[in-house]
Symmetry: C2
DNA sequence: ACTTGACCAGATTTCGAACTTGGTCATACG
DNA sequence: CGTATGACCAAGTTCGAAATCTGGTCAAGT
């Protein structure tokens, strides 16, 4: 049954590509099927509706970014620190045109899926971030004079501020430099010095994996 | 000729009110004139076009926010500190539905004026912020391990991140609490301890006044 | 000298016809 | 017998012309 999975992957690849190139509105199921070299009906053997297909495209991009984060956490447990995490996540998002377009709220690219976020649960995202910050707080890796809900809110505001700033043309330096700037900002705003061990990194990775 | 100024104020009041209530698209010059108790042609004695009128409404809101900042700076020179400034400015914007709608990019409210920002020069805004941060840097009130352009970029990202976060429903606590949270974030991210004198506050006020 | 609203051109909205496309399913194929 | 397909249909979208509205003017009124 791997042929079926292969075909699914192929369809998602094609759909993602067309989505980036032409935007949500302009991509039809026929286009996708044609570009994948299969009949339209076949697409519906995998997803019940057009929206489900494109949601799947989005979900895969999210899984990809999370996989990147998990990899980074395994490679270097220090990525579990809030400021390192911020920089890695920032880059993991900007690396993916689909996610970038979603975060920026590119209506052209995502149509009505923006905001509804295509079945991807924004509430869950917030909860995971809150748990993550909780974990860091318990280990003393973040400032303790702010309650974790406030800390989480502030962190997310800062993070999204830097993401949104990407859409501004007059950005300073390179993307990597901006990631470092975000890191420096988050570090002095929220982090406390310390060196996480692999166990903590695993815990954070597990939390993230709960986002799939 | 104060009657003329009074009438101008009246028109701007009415226009601002209708703008908040009905949004850019739905407000006609006839509506505004009617609500102001004058003829349509009279409106054109004050502004050459519809766009100029609404730009004037926006410009007045900006001047109001800046006036608030100048007042706050005079009342307490410590507002010149980046984190105090951030909190005051945050509140000055959110206090004004027109500015809030503009910052949030409320297309419903502002129509095509969003982005073009109605003659209000976003580039100038950036320059003023950069000058302000320069002044703080020269006095040692902000961290010195970051160049001022980077510092400015980071500060603006953080600030806008908090503003954008306002549109999220699940905000923590009250608006004032969020202003304090922003302040705490900016303080530990960028500020260095110190007490500005009235001269510095005046200098900053002068910079801001250059934004009119 | 100042104000006004009738007026007009151009923009916007409306509305139905023409076309497009998501989703189904009878048929073809292996 | 199970899987894949594309012709088909209804729902949705686009298009265009007619109807309506509104920014801006200016001759007439105060």
């Amino acid at each position: 049954m791997t042929a079926r999975t292969d075909r699914e992957t192929k369809i998602l690849d094609v759909a993602a590509d067309m989505l980036v190139r032409h935007g949500y509105r302009r991509v039809t199921i026929d286009d996708v099927a044609g570009a994948a070299g299969i009949g339209k009906g076949t697409v519906y053997l995998h997803w019940k509706t057009r929206e489900e297909l494109f949601s799947a495209v989005f979900a895969r991009a999210v899984r990809g970014a999370i996989a990147d984060m998990v990899t980074a956490l395994r490679a270097d447990p220090a990525v579990a620190l809030l400021h390192r995490f911020a920089a890695e996540f920032f880059l993991a998002i900007l690396r993916r045109p689909l996610l970038y377009g979603m975060v920026i709220g590119d209506v052209q690219m995502w149509g009505k899926l923006v905001g509804s976020e295509a079945g991807y649960d924004g509430g869950r995202h917030n909860m995971v971030m809150a748990s993550y910050v909780d974990v860091l707080a318990a280990r003393g890796f973040v400032r303790t004079d702010l309650a974790t809900p406030e800390l989480t809110y502030a962190f997310q505001s800062v993070f999204e501020g830097f993401i949104y700033a990407e859409r501004t043309v007059g950005s300073t330096g390179t993307r990597d430099e901006r990631a470092r700037l975000l890191s420096a900002t988050v570090e002095s705003a929220f982090s406390r010095p310390g060196t996480p061990d692999a166990a903590l990194a695993d815990e954070v990775a597990a939390l993230l994996s709960g986002l799939v």
